[in-house]
């Protein structure tokens, strides 16, 4: 079992800190039990379970830092990892931006753990896959999909007295269901902390309807359209935009939030270097993060133990906070806006974003649309211009033409070239937010969304 209780984690980390001979020492202990099942062509292809715990030790001598990790916890191994990190620290050059370890702090209580998810068995995963494959076969369709569940814990401690602990569970399901002749395809995605809420049969029915409904797609001319974006379609664009909102990049003149002086003039002494406080989007746009949100909870602390509470990034279209680091906040005399720890690993997890919306369901929004395009998801999104956040990508697995409140027929997929900045200024309506990829995103009706070319891909 890879999950350490808070007591056991504290015990182990205290032992590690006690071994430290360096000026500063900080440790992160992260563990998880994960399981998955993958299927394609209406049959299970692979399945697995992985259990892992990693201790990372970061030692500092003055401004020199070294990091070592290990996944064995006997006394000899603990001694080894601490000494390794100290040796690496001595070999590293000084980092002028080094910040001292934080002291003890209070963190809010967050419930992100559900026993239901933590106790998932291979048989349950197989049943979840069966619930998707059986109705697909019945409808003469070909199902492929992936279910992944994880139970994890994070603990951290340093020599200055900081200690933090958090547990969470997660389950994620996607399915791509296609017609036998490859002319129709539908997709669905669901994620929760509590697997009790996961119904792969219900979810697969959505993909099945889209697969059947997307046969015989008609071609429409590329151009600007009113689109209804399902939350799965916009979540990546919003996450990419948030990833570009870093204060330092803006201050250094290399982001869309940099404040440029008037063309031909020099910036005045002490003039703002970023667009904090500027209204950049429609006033219906409010986006914040909140670790305690019951539908998509996160850890209430950063990777170095700073508490994280609710932070409003965009309020009624105005930029009200930009993510930064303790170093940059101090250097610029700005408040520190921390983001929640999402685990070790070079990509970490998804950053949680909660976007406010309205009360309408997706079906309500379709009913209110005279002429538009319904988009299930966007794929292979890549940045074209970092200054305007122009992105390209394609629609996929369920793209439909809406006329007079009804889905009229399926249409061929489009490539788009559009910026989320433009998108969030062209809002016609926002529906009721739902969870997608660990965030809460509303369905959106957007005018003048740029579809630039057609794709033959189904």
């Amino acid at each position: 079992m890879a999950i350490f209780t808070e007591t056991k984690a504290r015990e182990l980390l205290s032992k590690v800190i006690a071994l430290s001979k360096a000026d500063e020492c900080e440790c992160n202990l992260d563990g998880s039990n994960t399981g998955n099942i993958r299927y394609a062509r209406n049959t299970v292809s692979t399945a697995g379970e992985v259990s892992d715990v990693t201790l990372a030790v970061r030692s500092c001598y003055g401004k020199r830092t070294g990091t070592a990790t290990i996944n064995e916890f006997d006394d000899a191994s603990l001694e080894k990892v601490v000494r390794r990190s100290e040796e690496l620290a001595r070999l590293s050059p000084e980092n002028p931006e080094h910040m001292p370890n934080l002291g003890p702090a209070e963190y809010s209580k967050v419930n992100a753990w559900f026993d239901s998810t933590a106790s998932t068995t291979p048989d349950q995963r197989a049943a979840a896959a069966e619930a998707s494959i059986v109705p697909s076969r019945k409808n003469k369709l070909v199902a492929s999909g992936y279910l992944n569940d994880a139970a994890s814990f994070s603990a951290m401690m340093n020599k200055a007295g900081m200690f933090a602990y958090h547990t969470s569970t997660n389950v994620n399901f996607t399915a791509t269901i296609r017609t036998e002749d490859g002319t129709g395809s539908g997709w669905v995605s669901r994620d929760y902390n509590d697997t009790g809420r996961m119904d792969t049969k219900e979810a697969s029915n959505v993909a099945i309807s889209k697969a059947i409904g997307s046969k015989d797609a008609k071609e429409m001319e590329p151009g600007k359209y009113t689109v209804i974006m399902e939350p799965a379609a916009t979540v990546q664009l919003l996450a990419n935009m948030f990833g570009s909102m870093n204060q330092r990049a803006a201050d250094e003149g290399r982001s869309f939030l940099s404040k440029k002086p008037e063309e031909g003039t020099e910036p005045a002494e002490g003039a703002p270097t970023n667009r904090l406080g500027d209204k950049m989007f429609d006033e219906r746009v409010t986006i914040y993060s909140d670790p305690a949100n019951p539908d998509c909870p996160t850890a209430p602390f950063t990777g170095d133990g700073h508490p994280v509470g609710t932070t409003k990034w965009i309020d009624k279209g105005v930029i009200t906070a930009m993510p930064n680091t303790r170093y940059w906040a101090e250097k610029t005399g700005t408040r520190y806006y921390p983001t929640a720890y999402t685990g070790q690993g070079i990509f970490g997890g998804n950053q949680q974003l909660i976007m406010e919306g309205g009360t309408q369901s997706l079906e309500d929004m379709i009913r209110d649309t005279r002429r538009g395009v319904l988009v299930t998801r966007l794929w292979y999104i890549r940045q074209l211009d970092p200054q305007t956040l122009l992105y390209t990508g394609l629609t996929r697995d369920g793209t439909f033409y809406i006329e007079n409140g009804e889905i009229k027929y399926p249409i061929k997929n489009f490539r788009f070239n559009e910026s989320p900045i433009v998108m969030l200024n062209n809002i016609e309506a926002l529906g009721k937010p739902v969870r997608i990829n660990g965030s809460m995103i509303p369905p959106m009706k957007i005018r003048d969304f740029t579809f630039s070319s057609l794709s033959d891909a189904v």
Binding site: N36, A40, R41, T43, V44, G48, V50, A56, G66, T67, A68, T69, N71, R84, S85, L88, L91, P93, N95, E97, S144, Y146, N148, A175, T176, R178, G182, Q236, N240, N246, E252, G253, R254, F256, S258, K260, D304, T342, Q344, G345, I346, F347, G348, W379, Y380, I381, R382, L384, P386, L389, L390, L394, R415, N417, S419, V422, S453, S455, D456, A457
Partner: protein, 543 residues
């Protein structure tokens, strides 16, 4: 600690691709120690193979791996991170009751190894209850005890950290002294020490080395900012790649320098600074149809996306439908023998044997000796990429040798081998290709890349763009991307440079599978011309 910052800083994040850097961090000196003797590995392998057979496996293979990584990142005048990792363990794959099973463990005691082998067989037997299509393995003759090593000259892991840090500092200073305001430079070093053994009678010990040294430079001007990434390629070489041998530099009408098997990172950083200042002033492209001349450092990615991926056989069959999708290159097109993938000068070849490439290895991860094979010959689609349990589907009985796993802890499966465009038999230079173009754009370096889920519609950007008028490069331009469809694009290929211009580009982090695995792959090509391609302007006025 938040290593996600690394991805934001370097811009390497590729949305959805998981880079596993598993295992323990170790000291730099430990990276070059070799704790596992071949005799010891053979003993462990035999323990696993025997346990698997006793439990009822009809076939078994074992991979004992020690996977080492080092990465160092430097931003402007400071070093952000020096990280060394090691991951060691054993993975056992078996066939029982006609079905695959796999298990892995980092505990390499005989008891634990036997248990892992038994677990793999238990998994195979459990899954066999639903099996409708028993595994059919193409035959392989055991090779006995052999070894192979990437032909490196200088083991990058043995170079002192101080020397590497000094290099990155020199690179950063060169860029900032010549026009860049910000720069992040990175050294990625990889060493896979892997031992493969199978019930076919093979005991293969391989020592594989890879290296990538990218940088990401930015210049801020009065109206905005521009970016330029390094033009070095990821390679299957040692630290000698960074020696900067001038004989390996390619000049094109004085407008650009490319690099073959030796990279002068400092010079490239200097050029980047100057080119960034030029990018800030460069004219924005007039959209429309142009003849494109694509430099190898750029074209490699177009090959990767529009040829490499669609010709992975399991993708064609639907096994990747829930991730990156399927393929337009369906079996009927291949069976017809007449599908024009490209014009008749287009020859696309797969291999894991090109010296200095990322895919170069002696044997793949299921013990098959690597080779070269044609994918597209004289423009016609003639083959796919397939491994032992797939080749029978395309009426062949010899695996192509492109099976790979990212670590001992993951099961091996079909991965893209190197996929390259053969150069012209006539040794034309890049200048020779440019001189016939009346109205064109020369594109260098990789930028944005996006392609649909069946590999038809794609759109690509680049790093540097030059207008060509009547055979001459006239000026640097900006905001270029081109959009096309795979079959149309490759059929508009009209000219290739030759062997002396041919260069290997590559990707250090290709993603496939769920859960996703990473693989490194090279693409060789000469400077190549494509006619009448749609070019768009990516600049916008926003906010």
């Amino acid at each position: 600690m938040d290593r996600r910052k690394f991805i934001e800083l370097t811009g390497i994040g590729m949305g959805g691709l998981m880079i596993a850097l598993p295992g323990s961090y170790i000291s730099a000196a430990e990276l070059t120690a070799n704790p596992m003797e071949v005799a010891f590995k053979k003993k462990m392998a035999d323990t696993a193979l025997n346990a698997a057979k006793s439990a009822g496996a009809t076939y078994a293979d074992v991979r004992i791996g020690r996977y080492l990584n080092q990465f160092i990142t430097a931003q402007e005048k400071r070093v952000d991170n020096v990280v060394n990792t090691e991951s060691a363990g054993i993975g056992v794959r078996v066939i029982a009751n006609g079905t695959w099973g796999f298990a892995a463990t980092s505990d390499m005691s005989p008891d634990s190894i036997a248990k892992a082998a038994e677990k793999a067989v238990a998994v195979a037997k459990a899954n066999s209850k639903f099996q409708t299509d028993p595994v059919q393995l193409a035959p392989v003759t055991g090779v006995g005890e052999v070894s192979w090593r990437t032909p490196i000259v200088k083991n990058a892991m043995e170079i002192p950290i101080k020397d590497k840090v000094d290099l990155l500092m020199e690179v950063n200073n060169a860029a900032m002294d010549n026009g860049a305001n910000y720069i992040t430079s990175v050294l990625f070093l990889v060493n896979e020490q892997k031992y493969f053994a199978s019930t076919d009678g093979s005991y293969i010990d391989q020592d594989v080395h890879r290296l990538w040294a990218p940088f990401f430079a930015t210049a801020v001007g009065p109206t905005g900012f521009k970016q330029r990434t390094g033009l070095g390629n990821p390679v299957g070489m040692g630290f000698e790649y960074l020696d900067g041998d001038p004989a390996e530099q390619i000049q094109v009408q004085g407008a650009n320098i490319g690099y073959r098997y030796s990279y002068d990172m400092v010079k490239d950083a200097r050029d980047a600074g100057m080119q960034l200042q030029a990018k800030l002033k460069a004219r924005s492209v007039e959209p429309g149809k142009y003849d494109l001349v694509l430099d190898p450092h750029h074209l490699m990615l177009t090959i990767h996306e529009s040829v490499g991926h669609p010709l992975e056989l399991d993708r064609v069959l639907g096994y990747e439908a829930n991730y990156a999708g399927t393929s337009f290159a369906t079996l009927d097109k291949w069976r017809s023998g007449t599908f024009n993938y490209g014009s008749d000068i287009v020859n696309l070849v797969a291999d894991k044997t090109q010296k200095h490439s990322l895919g170069y290895v002696g044997y793949d991860d299921e013990g098959v000796k690597t080779r070269e094979w044609d994918l597209v010959k004289d423009g016609i689609l003639v083959n796919y990429q397939a491994i032992r349990d797939q080749v029978h589907i395309i009426d062949q009985n010899e695996s192509h040798g492109c099976c790979y796993s990212q670590s001992w802890a993951d099961v091996q499966f079909q991965r893209m081998p190197n996929v390259s465009l053969r150069p012209n038999e006539q040794d034309l230079s890049a200048d020779d290709v440019i001189k016939d173009v009346e109205n064109g754009i020369y594109i260098v370096g990789r930028g944005s890349f996006s392609i649909d889920q069946q590999r038809y519609n794609f759109q690509f950007g680049g790093q540097l763009f030059y207008e060509i008028k009547d055979g001459k490069i006239t000026e640097q331009i900006e905001d270029v991307a081109y959009q096309s469809n795979t079959q149309e694009f490759w059929n508009s290929c009209t000219k290739l440079a030759g062997k002396s211009d041919y260069r290997l580009g590559g990707s250090f982090f290709d993603g496939k599978g769920q859960p996703s695995q990473v693989s490194a792959v090279s693409h060789g090509c000469p400077t190549t011309r494509f006619n009448n391609i749609n070019v768009i302007n990516t600049a916008r006025k926003v906010g």
